[in-house]
């Protein structure tokens, strides 16, 4: 259940209250998000849409602890992240958030295996356990035969699959996807969205996705529109 009126029951996985984000550009102060409220339950799949500059990515960054709000609070699984120290926030991010970017953002000098293994390097897992986890998630995204391939040896769709594997390998609490199909052709985009849907339906992942693509958005349970810094509930997805 997704709510944007700030009247959630307090048991939602993600609770955003009165969130403001302002940017200073020279002497000008720009309000990107204004008094934003959001409640997302575990297992929800939410798509954010809106024109460029409406604050979608800013919201995603705030939810992922990559940026700090000007006011308001974000609570995830009981942890209020808006007042965490940088080091705590980093540790929290490693434990709870999986990021998927439009441009995949893979490390070009690492193989698919190396890229997916990155988040696990920060855990206490043994080398053998890390290998087992990486092989398992690369299997989930259908790239078991591409372990030793470098990003330059993969197609765009395959790169995004590797990025998804990297995002889920540490079993995060929720996934943040920033235009995951924005750089892909239609067929690859469909495959990626199939994969994201599987993560939600078969693996119970909570997904928050920013997209411009209505076809991608219609896969979500809920589509929210951001306009002038305010969230407005839109038409439901296809689920």
């Amino acid at each position: 259940m997704v709510r944007v009126d700030g009247k959630g029951n307090g048991e939602s996985l993600i609770q955003v209250r009165d969130l403001d984000k302002k940017y200073q550009r020279g002497s000008e102060e720009i309000d990107v998000l204004q008094g934003l409220n959001l409640d997302v339950d575990k297992g929800d799949f939410v798509a954010f849409m809106g024109p460029s500059g409406s604050g979608k990515t800013t919201l995603l960054n705030l939810l992922g602890g990559l940026d700090l709000p000007s006011a308001g609070s974000i609570t995830v699984a009981g942890d209020e992240i808006t007042h965490m120290s940088a080091s705590k926030l980093t540790a929290w991010r490693a434990r709870h958030v999986g990021f998927i970017f439009q441009m995949y953002n893979l490390i070009p000098v690492l193989t698919a295996f190396g890229n997916v293994e990155l988040p696990l390097l920060l855990t206490r897992l043994s080398k053998a356990d890390r290998r087992r986890h990486v092989e398992a998630v690369l299997g989930v995204v259908g790239l078991s035969d591409r372990l030793d391939h470098y990003p330059r040896q993969l197609s765009g769709g395959q790169e995004q699959r590797v990025a998804i594997a990297r995002a889920i390998v540490a079993d995060p609490t929720f996934l943040l996807c920033d235009e995951p199909t924005g750089d892909l052709d239609r067929k690859s985009a469909e495959e990626i969205m199939d994969l994201v849907e599987r993560l939600v339906h078969e693996h119970g992942k909570t997904v928050l996705m920013v997209t411009h693509d209505p076809r991608a958005a219609e896969r979500a349970h809920t589509v929210l529109h951001l306009d002038k810094g305010v969230l407005v509930e839109g038409a439901g997805g296809g689920a």
Binding site: L66, D67, A94, N105, L118, P119, L122, K127
Partner: protein
């Protein structure tokens, strides 16, 4: 260790750049190795000087002699456990360019005071038996191919005439740093044949019973000969060797200056390389932070890269320098010692790592402070 692959992968990203940077360290550390070796050659005496030895010279000048009669008086000074003496000969072997130091030394006491010289027992006995015997240092023997039993002619310059010696032995040092480029022969042969200067020696070397008594013994000796026609200047062997080396100029200063310039340049080159390396992968660093790498963790990765480059270049450069010095003195014996010690190698390696770390600090701190949201926006 699990992060090593990540560091290594980053280094292999731009192989040419990494190779060239490692090459900079290689050249710099090779140069360091040679400079340290040359510095050691000029101040080698000071580095291997015995802490329990004093040198007594004529207060007026090193080239002025001291009476032979001083030996017994010095030996009676409390705290002195042995005395030997030597005189500079200054002969020419075949041609003046074949310079090497030659000393007339006391056959009975020299090796007692200079324990660092190692000579087989039979060769020492041969030296004691033959008035014209001489002992060539190992480096000298190698330089001119001297062998035991050879006849060695020298042309005297201080004491003119043809002087002939029999090579009775080849002495070595008990450490690589010990100078073995000289020739020792018997003082009594010199005393017998020389036309002037009889009854004098060039300088005395005093062995102390306890090195802690050096100041007291020094004062006693010099006060004992004060106001005499041959006043003495007694100093520790290290001070004597240092002063002797400084006659050739302040090699230490020269080496330090060149070394500092080399390392500073290296710092700039490496710092610039690391800055470029960090700047061109801002997005990737942001990704690392996104997946949970902390700021200090990213800093550590950058520093590890810089230190790994420095370490590799340092090892190669120092290894080449060591190999070069193992090949022997390129001046064919003009340098007293030509040895790159393990201590100097270790110091060089630490210096290389230090330069690497300093070069990596600024870009590393920039990476540490990178704001993920801003960096991702730039990707």
């Amino acid at each position: 260790m699990k992060f090593f692959r990540l560091v290594l992968a980053q280094l292999l990203r731009k192989k040419v750049r990494t190779t060239l940077t490692i090459g900079s360290f290689t050249v710099a550390l090779f140069l360091y190795g040679l400079l340290v070796t040359i510095r050691g050659a000029f101040s080698g005496g000071a580095d291997v000087a015995g802490v329990d030895r004093l040198t007594v010279i004529n207060k007026t000048s090193l080239i002025m002699p001291l009476p032979f009669s001083y030996r017994d008086r010095i030996l009676r000074v409390p705290g002195v456990s042995g005395v030997t003496y030597a005189t500079w000969f200054g002969g020419v072997y075949q041609d003046e360019k074949n310079f090497f130091p030659q000393f007339g030394v006391d056959k009975d006491t020299w090796f007692d005071v200079y324990a660092e010289y190692v000579l087989p027992k039979d060769q020492r006995e041969a030296f004691l038996r033959d008035r014209q015997a001489c002992l060539a240092g190992k480096s000298l023997a190698k330089r001119f191919g001297f062998k035991v039993g050879d006849r060695l002619p020298l042309r005297g310059t201080i004491w003119p005439g043809a002087w002939e010696f029999n090579v009775a032995g080849i002495y070595e040092g008990n450490r690589p740093e010990v100078d073995t480029t000289g020739l020792l022969f018997r003082f009594d042969y010199l005393e017998e044949r020389r036309q002037f200067g009889k009854g004098t020696v060039g300088w005395y070397v005093v062995r102390l019973a306890n090195p802690d008594d050096a100041v007291k013994v020094t004062r006693t000796i010099d006060e004992g000969f004060a106001n005499s026609p041959f006043e003495t200047l007694t100093q520790t062997e290290k001070a004597f060797a240092t002063a002797f080396a400084k006659q050739m100029g302040n090699i230490e200063f020269l080496v330090m200056t060149i070394g500092s310039v080399v390392f500073f340049t290296l710092l700039l080159v490496t710092g610039n390389t690391m800055a470029i390396a960090v700047r061109e992968r801002t997005g990737e660093l942001a990704v690392l932070k996104t997946v949970g790498f902390s700021g200090p963790g990213v800093l550590a990765l950058i520093l590890a890269e810089a230190v790994l480059i420095a370490g590799q270049g340092g090892l190669i450069g120092l290894g080449l320098a060591k190999l070069f010095t193992l090949g022997g003195d390129p001046t064919r014996g003009l340098l007293g010692t030509f040895y790159l010690s393990w201590g100097s190698l270790g110091l060089g390696f630490m210096l290389a790592l230090g330069v690497g770390a300093v070069a990596g600090i600024l870009p590393g701190v920039a990476a540490m402070r990178l704001r993920v949201a801003d960096a991702l926006r730039r990707v």
